[in-house]
Amino acid sequence: MLKEGEIRIPSGCAISGIFSKSGKRISGESIIKSIATMHDRSNGLGGGFAAYGIYPEYKDYYAFHIFYDGNTSKKECEEFLERHFDIINLSKIPTRKTPGITDVPLIWRYFVTPLPTKLSESQLDEKEFVARCVMKINTKINGAYVFSSGKNMGVFKAVGYPEDVGEFYRLSEYEGYCWTAHGRYPTNTPGWWGGAHPFALLDYSVVHNGEISSYDANRRSIEMYGYKCTLQTDTEVITYIIDYLNRKIGLGLEEISGVVAAPFWQVIDRMPKEEKEKYTYLRNTFASLLITGPFSILVGFDGGIMALNDRLKLRSMVVGEKDDTVYIASEECAIRIIEPNLDKVWAPQGGEPVIVTLNGGAK
Amino acid sequence: MKKVYVNEEWCLGCHLCEYYCAFANSNERDMAKALKNVSIHPRIQLEEGNNINFAVSCRHCDDPLCVKGCITGALSIHDGVITADTNKCVGCYTCILCCPYGAISPSDHGVIQKCELCTNNIKGTPYCVQGCPNNAIVFEER
């Protein structure tokens, strides 16, 4: 059977997220508990987590998490890394034997920073340089796959139920101010570790539940801007779109939601002049990056998180608040299980972004 | 009141209105049966000249000379529609003498005939209008 990248795979999912506005560092336990409650929304073919603020001691270095089929690809990849980066620290990512997790690849973690010489001759800004290197590895080096490449953050994913994945990566031993989790329900794949979610590029990580109908329109457009959609998953293309609009074009998250989940014309027409012009401009200029069809996503980024539903809200998504902690999940139960008495619970409108950032900054 | 109006700008001079009129007033169901081997005397009649054509039928005047002139009382107005009681009519043709539009004509039965907006045949609504291929004849309020 074909795996991700060779074929497009629709899937249903469960997502969950926890964010501490004060930057309080939360252990991985609660997010595991939360995603586990939605066990039935995944089918054991993929689970994963993204955590922000977990590598304070290495916060100035890019943390690469890489899967290897075997030692040859590892060797080839590390040579590539050495050619382009100064590797500060490298280690196997600590895991625990778990019955639910099998066919484990080699999983390594590298804290790196670009070699100044390479960077300057590339004439790219640092992030672009890093991003391109990641794409290079993922497309050119057979058997090596970078699944996390941001600073002071990390993605942990595998084939299996999310709670097992959490167990496997010993996430209770990590602490971060922001956690997102994903349980996957692909309809036609054996599941591949790289294909599990979250999907991440640099600091951006995306967990997504849905199947977007605009996929190929989005894909063919974003690929014009130097991205390569190797996995053919919604999450991948959404991540690239957000990276493109935010990092390369310079749109704010609110503006980005005005592109990917743009208001309907009938809504725009009723807006006050200035708003109207803004949203008309966004829809017109970035028309091909509009995302249609059902999706609910959690976008993690440095110091913040954004939750967004498609404009028709064809997927469930609930937000809860308790003191300075924000919870977001596909189902309310996944929030209640970790915080029974919330100050506030609501279901955001389709296309209405929920953006939360650190007020105190990461501690 | 809705009346039949003709717009010569769009009249093609195809004469179909005349045939649809004759058909409507034959009260036959099949046009071929009604008009085969018949020389028609329609109540709407085309005037044609060099590239100008228009059909003329009763204008159903608000203040009709034909009705006033009728010596028998056969012509009368019913909710705006001027109708002829052919049973009363003796065919003196005073109405033809009076009508400024030449819209009343002798019938085949020695009396007169005129457009009654198809109110008195099986069609019920002006059939010339329905038959006009170019909307040159319309049935509307003005």
Binding site: T187, R220, T292, L312 | E9, H15
Partner: protein, 501 residues
């Protein structure tokens, strides 16, 4: 010449039981097929004159008429078709170039008919356009690749001039001269009410129609007929016509007989003298010349109008399009080899150009490969026959489509393909007042609006089925298409999978 080798192509079949001698057939046939025999008191017809336009058939009040293809044949011959033989007879007799009208009628593959559209099942929901908003509004024009903000960080509108369409449909270029005043009025009024655009073609813009300027594309063709400042400023967009699908590589020729009255005024061509559009623009022998024309037109209208460059779909269309996308043009219009015409040499029409589906697919992909797809919008024409074709074209990568033949059919055209005779019985492709009169714009524009509104509704239904609720998410969304009975090469060019994959 002595013997006439040509046997009538059609036979007029008259049901004598139903014919009532109303003579409408006689009055309505500009080819004088029908006549009334006073002695025998019956209608007669001369088959040889019939072009099978169905005017008489449609108007016959008793349905007494039908036109059938003559079953008179030549001896069976798989190679020498009756058509080939007859054409040789014609040329042997006339010594002239064969003329034809409307699009290529030959049996080349129609790729639209070998492409199927997707729909949602289970894993994501289809959307009901009657219950949910379903958006088909389209902006045409080039998109900036960076944003600008003012000092307080507000986004600045840095879009260059474009056009907005209520639906991804426009009426393609048909000149006043090739079609009648009433046909133009119908198109203009329909475009205005439907919120789309129509195209003047190369015949200039009649003063009566300046009022529809906001919905008008003014064309600049190699003959430059009727082109002046007011004309350029009147339109919502300017189209440079480099080529036409029906006759790539050759110009146009409107015989002096048709240059009369308003046509001569509108075209700025003296009455009675032929209006000849040269094959090329004589100021454009190369791509950089095109760039100059694009910018001189923009200068002339101080950058307030988007410029469209229309080309015929020819073999290296992708490379040409790439050049145009870098020429400052805002929109590329591509006309497929089945595109219609008022008159073209038969051999050119039937043998030159390539199918629009393939041209579109390769152009869209090429522009993406070069990262310049956003520089231009792509509009395709050349036999868009229904809303299915439109959905497929957009999914292949078009921003919008041009419809010409379909629009004329809505106006009553029966595709008899005799436009070049100038005796269009339906009042479309003629300038004879008594024939032009037959097209009442009050009827015509309503029929056009009905057509595009119906198509727009069907487009929405199909989008809804795919779970797409905005047309921009369909554009270039080739995963929504599958091919049937296409070979690897065709699939590869179209950039789609085969059904079942």
């Amino acid at each position: 010449m002595g013997v006439n080798y040509l046997y009538p192509e059609y036979e007029v079949v008259r049901n004598m039981d139903r014919c009532i001698n109303c003579r409408v057939c006689e009055r309505q046939c500009a080819n004088e097929v029908h006549s009334y025999d006073e002695e025998r008191k019956i209608m007669c017809s001369d088959d040889a004159l019939c072009v099978n336009c169905h005017r008489c058939v449609s108007l016959c009040p008793t349905r007494a008429l039908k036109i059938v293809k003559s079953d008179h044949t030549f001896k069976e011959n798989a190679n020498w078709s009756g058509r080939s033989i007859s054409e040789i007879y014609k040329q042997a007799e006339s010594g002239g170039v064969l003329l034809s009208s409307m699009g290529n009628p030959n049996s080349f593959p129609v790729y639209f008919d070998k492409i199927l559209i997707n729909a949602s099942q289970v894993t994501n929901p289809s959307i009901d356009p009657l219950r949910e908003p379903m958006e088909t509004k389209v902006f045409l024009g080039s998109k900036p690749n960076k944003i600008e903000r003012d000092k307080d960080g507000k986004l600045v509108n840095n879009l260059s001039a474009g056009v907005e369409l209520a639906m991804p449909i426009m009426f393609s270029a048909m000149s006043y001269g090739s079609i009648s005043y009433n046909a133009h009025e119908s198109l203009a009024r329909a475009a205005q009410e439907a919120g789309i655009l129509y195209n003047t073609g190369e015949g200039g813009l009649h003063k009566d129609f300046y009022q529809y300027g906001k919905h008008t594309i003014v064309q600049v063709a190699s003959g430059r007929f009727g082109v002046h400042k007011d004309y350029l400023e009147a339109g919502a967009a300017i189209e440079i016509k480099m080529g036409q699908g029906a006759k790539p590589g050759i110009g146009g020729h409107l015989p002096g007989a048709k240059i009369v009255g308003d046509i001569s005024k509108t075209r700025m061509v003296p009455e009675g003298s032929d209006a000849i559009s040269p094959a090329p623009h004589h100021d454009i022998y190369s791509i950089e010349d095109l760039r100059q024309l694009v910018y001189s037109l923009k200068e002339a209208t101080d950058y307030k109008k988007p410029v469209i460059v229309k080309i015929a779909a020819v073999h290296n269309v992708a490379a040409i399009a790439s050049g145009i996308a870098r020429s400052g043009a805002d929109i590329i219009a591509i006309d497929g080899f089945r595109g219609g015409t008022g008159a073209a040499p038969t051999r050119i029409r039937d043998n030159v150009g390539i199918p629009i589906e393939l041209a579109l697919a390769s152009v869209d992909q090429r522009l993406r490969d070069e990262g310049i797809r956003d520089n231009v919008s792509i509009v395709v024409g050349g036999s868009i026959r229904n809303s299915g074709d439109i959905v497929k074209a957009i999914a292949l990568g078009a921003d919008a489509v041009y419809i010409g033949t379909a629009a004329l059919i809505a106006l009553g055209c029966h595709l008899c393909r005799s436009c070049h005779s100038g005796k269009c019985n339906w009042g479309i492709a003629t300038q004879k007042p008594e024939l032009v009169k037959r097209l009442n714009p009050n009827i015509g524009y309503k029929r056009l609006i009905n057509l595009v509104k119906a198509w727009n509704h069907e487009i929405k239904e199909m989008m809804g089925g795919m779970g797409i609720n905005s047309i921009e998410s369909l554009k270039g969304n080739r995963l929504m298409l599958r091919g049937v009975g296409l070979n690897e090469k065709e699939l590869q060019i179209l950039g789609i999978k085969h059904a079942g994959e």
